[in-house]
Each structure stands twice: as structure tokens, then as C-alpha cells.
């Protein structure tokens, strides 16, 4: 055996050794509890059962929570994409450095403020005598304060606010890698700025749009604190339903719903990987 293959073997072994510590950590703190959750979701006092899953997927209330969770996550993702795209575009392409830095700072500084503080801020802004309702009343758009707080709208707004940096950073990262000469090339060949944007820039920023969307969608699906504080009792999201089942000591149902959320997230990630996988190959 040559010396080189020997040291390679040693290196391979050392690599696995290094992995063991984090692997143990993940297995002990994530894997085992997860197995316990799966076990709890399948076993009732009467023994093995699919009852909790059947309940989770047939009870109209639970189904509607699932549906509205996916709906809110979808809307949040879409709004984040639409709002973050032009900001990310400017943060990369604005002529003066001042504008570029200002936009990036504007998106990131709120991100460093505690999430709870921001959610409480939305409670104050959206309440019946909050600034939004006062403005609406002042311009005569509504006759009496509109119900904004404890609605899907409040949850959506706060989720967009909290998650938009993820979309922004993902888009910005992709856009930064687009060679500026490409747009110049398009324009010298006769393409207007708009033509260059739709035919060159937009297709090349697709991978950022996809990875940002996955991140925002997956994070919104499992969001707990914003719907708990800003959503009403009728607009629960999946994680709130899980919490409620837990406080009712219905561990089986809570576990089944948790597994449902987990599978949903993995499904989306798998689909997205399939989609982006192609894109990554194309643009690599």
C-alpha cells in the first residue's frame, strides 16, 4: 500500500471521528425526542392506533387549520418575494454606494431587534386606536375602527416583516453574482433596460427567488409566536393547534400534528430541491 492511500485512509477515518460529536448531539437532542413523538402519535391508552392521524386528517377544524396555515405561508412567501425583489435589485444595482448600503441596512437592522418586541409593536400599531386605524378614520376610509388585530391579516403582515430579510438576503446573494457586463452586453446588442431585465437578469435571479421562497415558506409554516399573539382564536396556525392540544394533555394528537407538519416541510423541501437542483446545475 502506498503512503498516499494510507494517509488518505487515515484522513477518511479522522473525518468520521470529527463527525461523531455533532452527530451524537443531534441524535440525542433531536432524533430521540422525535422518535418519542412518533411513538406517542401511534400509541393510545388502548395500544397501537392510527386514530390520532385519522382525527388530524378528518376533523374539519384541524383540516381548516392545516389549509389556512398553508394559505398564510403561501401569501407571506409571495408578498415577501414581491417586496424584497425590487429592494434586493436596488441594493445590488443602485448607482451610488450610499443607496446600496442604506437599503441593506434598512432591511437588516430590524432583523437584529428582538422578534417579540417587533410583534408587540405590531399589536400596538394594529389595535383599534392604533396608528393605522387612526389614519383610516382620519381620511374617512372607515367609519369605525376596522378589526385589524387578531386576524389573518395581522399574522401575515408580521410574518412578512419578520421573514423578509431571509428572502432579501437570498435574492441579494444571487443578484450579486450576476455579471454586470451581461446587462451591458444586452443593451449594446439593442436591448432596452426592460428587455435585458426580463431576458437576462430575471432568469438568472431565479435560483435566489426559489431558495428564498423555500426558506420563507418553511419558516412561516411552523411559526408559533406571531399567530399566537396577533392571530385570533379562529385563525390558528398548525403550531398553535399543536400547543393547544399539548395544554389539553392530548399528547397523541399533538404528536400526530407535529409529524404532519414535519412531513409537510420535508415534502416541500424535497420538491424544491428537485426544482432548484436543476437550476443549480444550469447556473453552476
Amino acid at each position: 500500500m502506498s503512503k498516499e492511500t494510507f494517509s488518505n485512509n487515515l484522513y477518511d477515518k479522522a473525518k468520521w471521528l470529527l463527525l461523531i460529536i455533532p452527530l451524537l448531539y443531534v441524535v440525542l437532542t433531536m432524533g430521540l425526542p422525535l422518535l418519542d413523538i412518533i411513538k406517542k402519535s401511534l400509541i393510545s391508552k388502548q395500544g397501537f392506533t392510527f386514530g390520532f392521524y385519522i382525527k388530524a386528517f378528518t376533523e374539519p377544524l384541524y383540516l381548516s387549520v392545516l389549509f389556512s396555515t398553508v394559505k398564510i405561508a403561501f401569501i407571506v412567501t409571495l408578498v415577501c418575494l414581491v417586496l424584497a425583489y425590487p429592494m434586493a435589485y436596488l441594493s445590488v444595482n443602485a448607482k451610488t454606494k450610499k443607496v446600496r448600503v442604506l437599503i441593506t441596512a434598512g432591511v437588516l437592522i430590524p432583523y437584529w431587534v428582538s422578534m417579540l418586541v417587533r410583534i408587540f409593536a405590531w399589536q400596538i400599531i394594529l389595535q383599534n386606536n392604533g396608528i393605522v386605524n387612526q389614519a383610516l378614520l382620519f381620511i374617512g376610509f372607515v367609519k369605525e375602527p376596522a378589526k385589524l388585530l387578531y386576524t389573518d391579516l395581522a399574522v401575515t403582515i408580521s410574518l412578512v416583516h419578520i421573514l423578509i430579510p431571509f428572502m432579501f438576503l437570498s435574492l441579494q446573494n444571487t443578484m450579486k453574482q450576476i455579471d454586470k457586463n451581461l446587462m451591458l452586453a444586452s443593451s449594446i446588442m439593442g436591448g432596452s433596460k426592460f428587455y435585458g431585465f426580463t431576458h437576462v437578469f430575471l432568469p438568472l435571479s431565479k435560483s435566489g427567488m426559489l431558495s428564498g421562497s423555500i426558506m420563507v415558506f418553511v419558516l412561516s409554516l411552523g411559526f408559533y409566536i406571531a399567530p399566537a399573539l396577533l392571530g385570533g382564536p379562529d385563525n390558528m396556525m398548525l403550531s398553535n393547534l399543536i400547543e393547544k392540544s399539548m395544554t389539553n394533555f392530548n399528547w397523541g394528537l399533538a404528536s400526530a400534528l407535529s409529524v404532519e407538519l414535519l412531513v409537510l416541510v420535508y415534502l416541500i423541501i424535497a420538491i424544491a430541491f428537485k426544482l432548484t437542483g436543476n437550476i443549480f446545475v444550469k447556473n453552476a
Binding site: D179, N181, L182, L184, A185, S186, S187, I188, M189, G190, G191, S192, K193, Y195, H199, V200, P203, L204, K282, N283, A284
Partner: protein
């Protein structure tokens, strides 16, 4: 007649704040001419290209393409072709789609586009690679695709930004001929920005030397090499010797002007000639440029207009040639000898060297 059109750059200046990137640039490229803009980095050559392309507005002046002022026309309406230094191929489009991009923009019929792209692919010898993505091509292939994309819509003016900068030496040589052949065949007016003298010399009809945002000389390669108009150009173009001439006397002669004066190089009168017949600024203390290859070893029976004795040292053997330094008083000249001559020299004694008045260039500041 080709498709090329005349480009005239008239009194163009470009300022960035108080920094003058370009100052009163005047340049005329006749239809079908290949002109290189040569300068070191920071000379303003790239700014000039950007202004001609329309990526940047000039602060003042006019740019005429075929007699029409385009100085304020947006880039995408100027109908110019450009080959970018890093090729700027669209990474998400195939070779064929890249080449078809400007044709699609011009709303040609699909059959016509396909036909033209196919023809172009065979012109650049990439027939089988139409469906490849740019990153699947070698550097040379990518450049040929970029060139194809820049010329497929027959732009009357083609701009090249450091066209050979990113290629290795052998490819460079091939592409040099390839670009020259294609642009010449189509009769395109071509402007190439480069810092590579060899590239500029081998490809251009005319060379424009830029430094500090100003044109130093705009002339044929021969003229630029043999008759540099000022000290900057003489020193910039290859190796030369700059020698002062004191108390110069100007005398009109057949086919030019004879200048004689005292020089630390030559004992007695030093005479040089220039093809310039009228010299407005008769500087009494000018400099002249003397190329190493114009300095010869004086053998028995040979006469030169000027001769001088020098001590030879610091020689570098280069195969056929030997580069050396010839010391005369405080002056140290770059000289070259053939290997044969050099072997017969007795380096312990001063040697007699000479040069003809015709092989010099008078320089003005």
C-alpha cells in the same frame, strides 16, 4: 464595400467630479479601419470605449457614427457591436441562443434566425456545439461565440475590449488572425482597446496612444514606432534611448529637416534628420529617440553619420541577439548586437558605435 461606417470623436471630455478621465479627445476612424486604443491601466482608454459604446455619457463633445451625432443616444439605439473582455455570454442560454439574442431583439423570423445562426456557427467553426452552455466551452470557444454574437447583426462599428487578454499565448496568436480576418472580410470599422503593444501592432491599421486622458499620438504602427511624436510615446513603445540635444540648429533639407547640435553622446556635432518639413516649435534643447537596433558596431570601411565610443557591460544573451548596456559618460544606452558580432568584441576596451541620422526621431515635450 463593407458594412463599416466612419466614427468621428470630436472634442470629447469626460469628468468624474474634478477628475478629468478624458480631455479633448479627437479621433477619426475611417470606414473599415482597424484602430487600436493603446494605453496602460488608468490611461482613460476604457473610459473612451465606454463613452463610444454609450455606457457612459461624455461630459462634453460629440460622437459621430456615419455623420450622425450619437453622443446623447442611449446605448441600445447606437447599433454597435462589442466583444467584452470576459465575453459576457449569457450563462442561462445555449451557444445558439446567445448568438440569436440580438436577432431576436430585432424581431427577425425564426427561420431566418436559425439560418443565420447556423451560418455563423460554421464561420466560427463551432458547428456541433450549438446546444452547449457557455460554461461547457473552453476559453477560446467562448470568445468565438462572443465574437459571433457581436457581429451577427452586422453592426457598422465593432468595439473590442482587451479582446485577447484572457487567452493563453497560442490561442492569442490564432484569435488575433481570426478577428483580423473576420472584421476585414466584413469590412467593419473596429476599435480595439488594449494594453498589449504586440497585439496593437499586429492587428491595427492605426494606433491611438492614450495617456492621462489625452491622445499622445494617433498614427500608423510604423509611424508610431519610427517617428514617435513625444517622449511619452517613444518610451512607451518598446525599448528606446532618449538623448538630449543642446543648442540645436534646424535646417530644411530635401524631404525633411536636419537638426544638429551638441550631445553628450557624440563628440563634435550630432546630426539627426526628421521627415517633418515644417517644425513650428524649434526647441533649442530637444531630445531625440534612438532605438537599440539603430545603433551599430562600426566595422572597417563602414561610415555612419554619428559615431561614439562606449564601454559595454551588463549583457543578456537572448539566442540570436545579445542585449547590452553601452556606457558613454553618464549616459547608459540600450543596445543590441548579433551573437556573431558580440563574440568578436573585446569587452575590456571601449568599442566604436555609430548610428545614422535617419534612424532617429526628434521629440518635443
Amino acid at each position: 464595400m463593407g458594412i463599416g461606417q466612419e466614427l468621428v470623436v470630436l472634442d470629447v471630455s469626460k469628468n468624474y467630479g474634478t477628475f478629468k478621465a478624458l480631455e479633448d479627445i479627437n479621433l477619426t476612424c475611417k470606414a473599415g479601419e482597424f484602430v487600436s486604443i493603446l494605453g496602460s491601466s488608468g490611461s482613460g482608454k476604457t473610459t473612451l470605449l465606454k463613452v463610444i459604446a454609450g455606457f457612459e455619457r461624455c461630459s462634453s463633445g460629440k460622437i459621430f457614427i456615419n455623420g450622425k451625432d450619437v453622443a446623447t443616444t442611449p446605448c441600445y439605439k447606437r447599433n454597435i457591436g462589442m466583444l467584452f473582455q470576459n465575453y459576457a455570454l449569457f450563462p442561462h442560454l445555449t451557444v445558439a441562443q446567445n448568438i440569436a439574442y440580438p436577432l431576436k431583439l430585432r424581431k427577425l423570423k425564426k427561420e431566418d434566425i436559425d439560418k443565420k445562426v447556423k451560418k455563423m456557427l460554421s464561420l466560427i467553426k463551432l458547428d456541433g456545439l450549438a446546444d452547449r452552455l457557455p460554461r461547457q466551452l473552453s476559453g477560446g470557444q467562448q470568445q468565438r461565440v462572443a465574437l459571433a454574437r457581436a457581429i451577427i447583426y452586422n453592426p457598422p462599428l465593432l468595439l473590442l475590449d482587451e479582446p485577447l487578454g484572457a487567452l493563453d499565448k497560442n490561442l492569442r496568436h490564432d484569435m488575433q488572425f481570426e478577428i483580423k480576418r473576420i472584421t476585414h472580410e466584413l469590412g467593419m470599422t473596429t476599435i480595439s482597446v488594449t494594453h498589449d503593444q504586440e497585439e496593437a501592432f499586429s492587428m491595427s491599421d492605426k494606433i491611438c496612444i492614450v495617456s492621462a486622458g489625452k491622445i499622445q499620438q494617433f498614427d500608423t504602427p510604423e509611424k508610431i514606432y519610427e517617428q514617435p511624436s513625444n517622449r511619452f510615446v517613444a518610451e512607451f513603445m518598446g525599448t528606446t534611448n532618449i538623448i538630449p540635444l543642446n543648442n540645436a540648429v534646424y535646417e530644411a533639407i530635401d524631404g525633411g529637416t536636419k537638426v544638429s547640435g551638441a550631445s553628450p553622446l557624440v563628440e563634435g556635432q550630432c546630426t539627426i534628420k526628421t521627415p517633418l518639413s515644417t517644425i513650428k516649435n524649434q526647441d533649442p534643447n530637444p531630445f531625440f529617440a534612438l532605438r537599440p537596433e539603430a545603433i551599430h558596431l562600426v566595422k572597417d570601411g563602414q561610415t555612419y553619420d554619428n559615431t561614439f565610443k562606449a564601454v559595454i557591460d551588463e549583457n543578456i544573451y537572448l539566442g540570436q541577439l545579445v542585449k547590452a548596456k553601452a556606457k558613454v559618460g553618464n549616459l547608459s544606452l540600450n543596445v543590441t548586437f548579433s551573437v556573431h558580432d558580440f563574440r568578436e568584441l573585446d569587452l575590456t576596451k571601449p568599442v566604436l558605435l555609430g548610428f545614422d541620422a535617419n534612424h532617429t526621431a526628434i521629440l518635443f515635450e
